[in-house]
Amino acid sequence: MALHTSAGARTVAGLAGSGSGRQPVIAVAGLTKRYGEVEAVCGIDFEVARGETFGFLGPNGAGKTTTIKILCTLANATSGTASVAGHDAARERDAVRRNIGLVFQDTTLDTYLTAEQNLRFHAELYGVPKAAVAPRMRQVMDMVGLWDRKDHLVSTFSGGMQRRLEIARGLLHAPHVLFLDEPTVGLDPQTRSSIWQYINELKGREDITIFLTTHYMDEAENCDRIAIIDHGKIVAIDTPEALKAGIGMDRVQIHTADDPAAIAALAEKFGIEAVTREGAVTFSVAAGEQFVPRLFAEFSVPIRSVSVSRPSLDDVFMSYTGTTIRDAEASGTDAMRQMAARFRGRR
């Protein structure tokens, strides 16, 4: 059912062995996916360079999982093209599948098998050369610190251990691209940070491109580049630093002896509109650290303390979508989310 627009049907040739690094490992053009009446992904374009860690940031139901499913050959696009590791995701499925590793949002382990049996199953299914199976299993299980648990049933593993095992399994066949769909969802903060530790170590260890989706702002910070996706559209795409710099404003909070007087003085002297937040006079200003010396020099109200903070990705998300990611999740996306869950459950 996939329609291929000829303009978008460009594939990247000869990825393997070419060390140029300029050719995109993932190239997506005009990608659209419709489920009945609902457009889950509405014409997105992006490219991911070799070796990059690329993040899809957006609320649940924004189209992240749908995009991953198309890239992983689990779903057909309604229109547009996607190529992964130089192969078209719709027409060269097996070639794409050989080159990618996957860690899904929900666990896809067989909990009635041991950790080793799960990996063995994967190795055979992917046709990993027989001589390489045992050492490679050892290597990836060491990487996530599960070698000593290899003979345990997966059903005895904690959520964090299962996720680590899935990462190990996703790497077993040495893929060029690793897809992580919400890799840390449902895990406690400590386990989340340990998962990230493994992912970051992995980047130093293997020649791999990572594509991940998340709705955690702090996790998106780990990415080289981020695409902010909302209602099936990419609203911004850049490095986390550039995105935050694009906001242009730093947040300054001052504690003063007389807050109302300080607010009045800010308006009078600098034309800045300030409000009281969290017990401090709060306002936004470009280049906050350069503003602070002026403040001290020209301000009549005694200042007890000052803090300047850079905009967070929360602010970025807010500025592009007009809502915080948490509010976006709580509001109108419920129907979409339910639908997405239904489609997720089907295959």
């Binding site: 779903a75 990618i100 896809t108 055979e124 046709g127 490679r136 050892r138 290597q139 406690d188």
Partner: protein
């Protein structure tokens, strides 16, 4: 999670030696896939002893409780020295694989609900090899289940004749394969575990009762006679009963009445055709299942 384990130092050294290149497919890769899917079924069956035991209870009830209880009623129709238990043994033997084979396909529905199916479906391997592995796996464990029941043959006065046993095992294997293929075909369409169980449960008993497992196919009213000929299980129970009866010394008139063979409007269906029908049905349903799994959302 205070038990995070540090990265082992030897992992770095290993990274240098291991070259993993996933091959370009080909029949050897597909064979490995068939084999591992098949092996997983066996591993799971081995670890699930409860399932193996419970699957035996129903045929044992039919053979010993129903078989013994009804023998006083049915005794008059039986030839001297042959018990009713012997008569129903082939049918109950078929039943011993019925549940295991069809429900082995339930693991597909289960895998879908618990996500493991996705791990299988994104692998760079043909969907055909996955379905074939699944059908062979289900057939193997169901046949194994049948063999356990075959050990009880002596209690039904069925002789432990090597030729008979090999024949019966062969027929069990074929039956198990076809039933598993049927289950896999259903599992390809039915996404909810509850629905799958309800539907297959609903089908299992009619399949068994219409197969002539508990009564001879002669002298039936027309409506029942037609239904028995539609039931695929009939085409295995018939040959199995034929095999058992040919290893007993039974007077010809009794043999004619109790194991008359399957007839279509008076024409006797030969054994090879009977077996062929079952095999073709199995292969056909497996083909449907493969086509179904090739579809992409």
């Amino acid at each position: 999670m205070a038990t995070e384990v540090a990265i082992a130092p030897e992992a770095d050294a290993l990274a240098e030696q291991i070259r993993v290149a996933v091959p370009e497919g080909g029949y050897r890769h597909d064979l490995r896939a068939v084999s591992i899917v098949w092996r997983r079924e066996l591993i799971r069956f081995r670890t699930d002893r409860l399932r193996a035991v419970t699957a035996l209870i129903q045929p044992i009830l039919f053979l010993f409780v129903l078989g013994t209880g009804l023998s006083s009623l049915a005794g008059g129709s039986m030839p001297p020295g042959v018990s009713f238990k012997t008569f129903i043994y082939p049918g109950v033997l078929a039943m011993s694989v019925l549940f295991t084979a069809i429900f082995s396909a339930a693991s597909i529905v289960w895998d879908r609900e618990f996500g493991f199916l996705r791990e299988i479906l994104v692998a760079p391997v043909s969907r055909a090899s996955i379905v074939i592995g699944k059908c062979l796996g289900g057939a193997t464990i169901a046949t194994f289940q049948g063999i356990v029941f075959l050990i009880l043959a002596g209690f039904a006065d069925v002789p432990y004749n090597p030729v008979l046993i090999v024949t019966l095992i062969g027929e069990l294997l074929l039956l198990s394969f076809t039933l598993t293929a049927f289950g896999v075909m259903m599992a390809a369409r039915i996404k909810q575990f509850q629905a799958f169980m309800a539907l297959t449960q609903m089908l299992v008993m009619p399949l068994f009762f219409l197969s002539g497992a508990l009564y001879p196919l002669t002298g039936l009213p027309a409506w029942l006679s037609v239904l028995t000929r539609i039931d695929p299980l009939t085409y295995v129970v018939g040959p199995m009963r034929h095999a058992v009866f040919s290893h007993l010394s039974i007077a010809a008139p009794f043999d004619q009445r109790l194991a008359p063979g399957i007839t279509w409007g008076g024409w006797l269906v030969p054994l090879w055709l009977s077996i062929g029908i079952v095999a073709i049905m199995g292969l056909g349903m497996m083909a449907v299942a493969i086509a179904e799994f090739r579809k992409t959302e």
